[in-house]
Amino acid sequence: MSQNVNHHPSISLLELYCDGSLTSEVALLVATHLEFCPHCQQLKADIETDQAWQFTQQPAESVVSNDDWLQMLNNITSSDTPRQPSLRPADSVISVGDYQFRLPRNLQHLAARRSKWLNVGGIASCRLPSGEPHHLSLLLIDKNTEVPLHTHQGLEMTLVLSGEIVDESGRYVPGDLIINTPEHTHKPRNVSSEPCLCLSVLSAPLHFKEGLTRWLNPLQRFFY
């Protein structure tokens, strides 16, 4: 069975990710997609190369005095002990009920700070730390389970981490990125015999109107 990632972020979305201007929750979905997708890893490297080139093209003349620069230089080179990277707690595997999932490395630190799992009829979710306008969570859809038809007032982005789901527009396997706006009503189902774990971002309606749609709307068509 082919497990190739089929639903990618667009180049425009990757560019925003690479220059650091995406909302962090959305950026996290893109980062997690990259963990699954060699194709987009290459594009990311290409975009960074290009952005770095633009960065070097900036005029380098400086109004900062030489003394100030020299002082900064000395500050840096005299700080002779490299900072110890603080070890952040990390969970590489998480358990939900009887299931266990291996997490992509970029989610392991956040997963260690997850909230409790909440369970409703075959669907479980737990929140990960995120900023207020957004809900970032892990979502488990048990085998042979249908997510009730829902309308989201904001933007809903989902990345499959394990297992697979289908909806009206297709089938999604690990690494696939699904973006839905309020115009979409969809009914994702897990028709397989394995549980499906997803990473999900829901944005609040307010934020959606002013922020995310501006750049997502033109991209929407690439995502179904």
Partner: protein, 218 residues
């Protein structure tokens, strides 16, 4: 082999006006010089202060300009410069030249520093950090993956209308390589950009064309 199929007049026409723009300016060659990669190696191996001050002299003013554009104020811009270069000083050993040039590495450090500075300003310390978004270390090796399928795609005449929509810098690279049959190295020399940048722009342009093609078929 691709050339004959693509050289329809439409493509040639739309591609040509970007070229004059791109080649008119002064030729920039500094990035082709491996001196920054060597300097990073010296810093990594023996904490070479001379090599570092060379890096500092080159990158600090550029980082400041970048920071000013991003933050709009001098104090934060300079904080970003210092944090970025401190990371360069301390983490030079993590630089892997096989994954990209020194400039790209330093640029991504600056991006991450900036991201975390903005996050702290918004008092979101406990949330998603740059380390979660751009983890150190790299993905599995991915070189040379799909060039063939791109050649096939380019043959398609229906790509022609999308050519004009490419960013000029990418369009000129595609044109030089596919229409004028220059090698990647020749294009790098002609445009005064690093070889890696030529390859990057080519891949990005082809990806854009693919996106446009998918879109028009929908």
């Amino acid at each position: 082999m691709v050339i004959t199929a693509v050289s329809g007049h439409h493509v040639l026409q739309t591609a040509s006006d970007g070229v004059s723009q791109m080649t008119a300016g002064p030729v920039q060659t500094e990035q082709q010089n491996p001196q920054w990669e060597q300097a990073l190696a010296l810093v990594a191996v023996k904490r070479d202060k001379q090599a570092f001050s060379d890096l500092f002299a080159h990158f600090a003013p550029r980082l400041r300009a970048f920071g000013l554009r991003m933050f709009g104020n001098e104090q934060q811009a300079m904080e970003m410069v210092q944090d970025t270069l401190l990371n360069v000083w301390n983490k030079a050993a993590l630089f892997d030249p096989s994954r990209g040039c020194a400039t790209t590495w330093i640029y991504t450090i600056a991006r991450n520093v900036r991201f975390d500075m903005l996050r702290k300003k918004q008092q979101r310390k406990d949330e998603i950090s740059a380390d979660d978004l751009w983890p150190d270390g790299e993905h599995p090796d991915i070189e040379g993956e799909h060039s063939q399928q791109w050649d096939l795609l380019l043959i398609a005449e229906k790509l022609a209308p999308h050519f004009a929509a490419l960013p000029p810098a990418q369009r000129v690279v595609v044109e030089k390589i596919y229409l004028e049959e220059l090698s990647h190295q020749q294009v790098a020399e002609l445009l005064g950009i690093p070889l890696g940048t030529v390859k990057s722009r080519l891949r990005l342009a082809l990806e854009r064309l693919r996106e446009a093609l998918n879109e028009s078929e929908r």
